[in-house]
Amino acid sequence: MHSIRAVAINTIKQALRMKVAVVFTILLLVLLPVLGFTATGDETLKGRLQTFVSYALSLTSFLLCLLTIIVSIYTVTSDIEQRQIYTVITKPIRRYQLMLGKLIGVIVLDVVLLCLFTAIIYTITIYMPKFTKASEQELIEANNVFFTARASLNVPEEDVSRQVANRYNELNTKGELPANVPRDEIIAQLTQQAQLARRAAVVGQPLLWEFKNVKPLSENLFIKFKYDVSVNPPDSQVWGRWFAGDYKFFQYGTQSKTPIYEKLHKHSVRDFHEIEIPAEVVPEDGHLAVAFVNDPQNNREVAIIFPPDGLEVLYKADSFTSNFIRVVLLILFRLIFLACLGTLASSFLSFPVAILFCFVVFFTASFSGFVLESFDFLGENIGAVYSYSLKWVIQLLPQFDKYNPSKFLIPAQLLTWSFLTKCALLMVCIKAFLIFIFSLVIFRYREIARITV
């Protein structure tokens, strides 16, 4: 234990005194406040806040990732290349203890720097409304959509398989099935049609959605939506009447104890919009209904369609601060993974090769979602080759883009503890741990000394 500690302390000293960490630290210490003043966004307070947090957090996260990779590789490879390891490894220390010490040193350094920089970002964010002398209305907007952590409830895709099966049989008996088309394809088409029908409303037609366990902490909640239309109206705007309230009232017509929200809105199509609803409409059991009616004011041909991700109910579920802390933890998990990756690379590669290796992995992991999706568009023959080789490898990597910190703070989306735990388990406890064990095995059996005759 004492030797692990000694190595860890030495690693931190090395990172600081060899000025690797210092360069990054100074860079961030200068850039973060500058960003605070220059980030303007769309000139509103909300825009400023979102731009600043987005840039500052991404920058901090990115630079710390680079720093982690560089330090974790440098600390091992420089010991081997400059041969200080000769005198260290011949002391009563096992090789795994040396590697563990180095890893702990890098992680401690990460934790300290991450705390420092995110504290700066947090402070600037909190004090930004005062600096910018925002108007009352801007403050309210910022409090509603930024200084909060909103849980979002989606509408799941409805199960239409039975309906599709019925329809298929019906067509089959009538003999109306198109010839030369395989059954799977017809089923897929029918499913698509059925689901679209559930999300579409012609003029005068209502749509009803059900949300359970809605427990807003603040005095309002938000419906976030996007319209698609069958025929584009002349001004690209449509009318919609929105309702919200006790689900039982809408479904069974029972007396509602809570008020019912009803209002007509006009919104542009193919953009996301939010409408604010007072929280008092939510019944005690949290069983909320949201209804929409395609208002007769619209042109008769206009059918309004909600895309699959086109409707969400958002409400405050936690404070901004605790959400911010969880987001920082998310960054920390990423850094721990990279530290383990750097240790692995340095256990058998020289400094430049190890750096290259880690950067390739880092960037691939950063775009893994995109890369994985792109496989689906490959031709069938090539696609098969990739699905069985590269896709499998990429799935082993952590999906940094899925756990992107800005994704949560910018729309003030709640990062739940369960999501965070899942990320910790997957990224740190499984992937990083396995990588580290692997690096220990390699380091255990390699020859430390360089060959000189």
Partner: protein, 413 residues
Amino acid sequence: MEYAVETFSLTKIFSDWWGRAKVYAVDNLNLQVRHNEVFGLLGPNGSGKTTTLKMLLGLLHPTKGKSLILGGEGTDPKINARIGFLPEESYLYRYLNARETLDFYGRLFGLPAKVRKMRIEALLDMVGLKAVANRAVGTFSKGMARRIGLAQALINDPDLLILDEPTTGLDPIGTRQIKDLILKLAERGKTILLCSHLLADVEDVCDRIAILYGGKIQTQGRVRELLQQTSKRQITTDAISDTAVEKIKQIVQDENAECEVASPMDKLETFFIRTVATAQQQAQPTSGAVSTTKIGDFLTEQKAVENILDKLVSAPISRRAAAESTATEKVAAAESTRPQADEQLLSKLTRSSEPSESQAVAREKIQTEPVEATTTGQEQVREDILDKLIGESDACRDQDKTEKPQAGDSGDA
């Protein structure tokens, strides 16, 4: 545990990328280093000396064969706790200062803070770097780095010291100091394995040597036996008159032998040391290392049991000589005078005020003395007691040694 270091047909083949054998760096090496001896591994560049040491310490894996070091593997932390290693160059963390460097290594041994601090100060004092202890090691000259390297090798009070080219980069005084230190440590019962191609160093300090070439042992044995010219005799006298010289020549000629007469030369080393010592006495300032003749007190002396043994035997022979004479083989009688020679030599060296007498001369004097009678007689008297006691004391020492690292651990906890 008969030997401190033992290798069994140790072989290291460096192969090329395709796995074809390219170089036999070490070839079937069978090396035995006894306890409490100074063993020198000699050879030209690339003869496999350093490769052998690296295999002993587990920095390289042998292609074939194996090695035992203090009776165990070179990678075992328990064994490592009893070894001090100085690599061929002092590879140090450039950003640490001298004191931090030693502190780091001390922590690796789990030495308690108090002990660590005490030892660091003693070592800095000993290698003459106390004045520059707070300077980054990266700014040190090669010789100064070497001194720190030596200090880190001693911080755990090792039983076995492995030194790879210990004197490279050192000034003549530093070289002399390291050699003295090696002798002093040997006197305190440490085993020292050193490799070098500086023959003068090896000749001065080693009990036994092996000469490597092409990874094979070409010859090995006691320095004295290997170097002594038994067909010749040397006589050194004070300055005597020419007539006396003529008389001696006459006597030699009567024996049908040839005789050369000349004044002995000082070694350049001795002369150099004398000059610098004078300068130091005049207290001229220097930013470099300072020469000292101190030795860290923590470096353990021989055990109490062995002192009793000495008293019982009641003869002024050192323990080392006694142990050796009874260990495995009958040793030549000339050997037992060797420690006496060292003591004499050391006492002269440590008194820097009178360095006038060449130690080389001192040694030669002793070498030419008829030695058989002085020691063998003393030994024969008590040989039975000696055997018995040495058996016991060896056991005691072993026990003590195995306990030492554990004591260090518990102290830290």
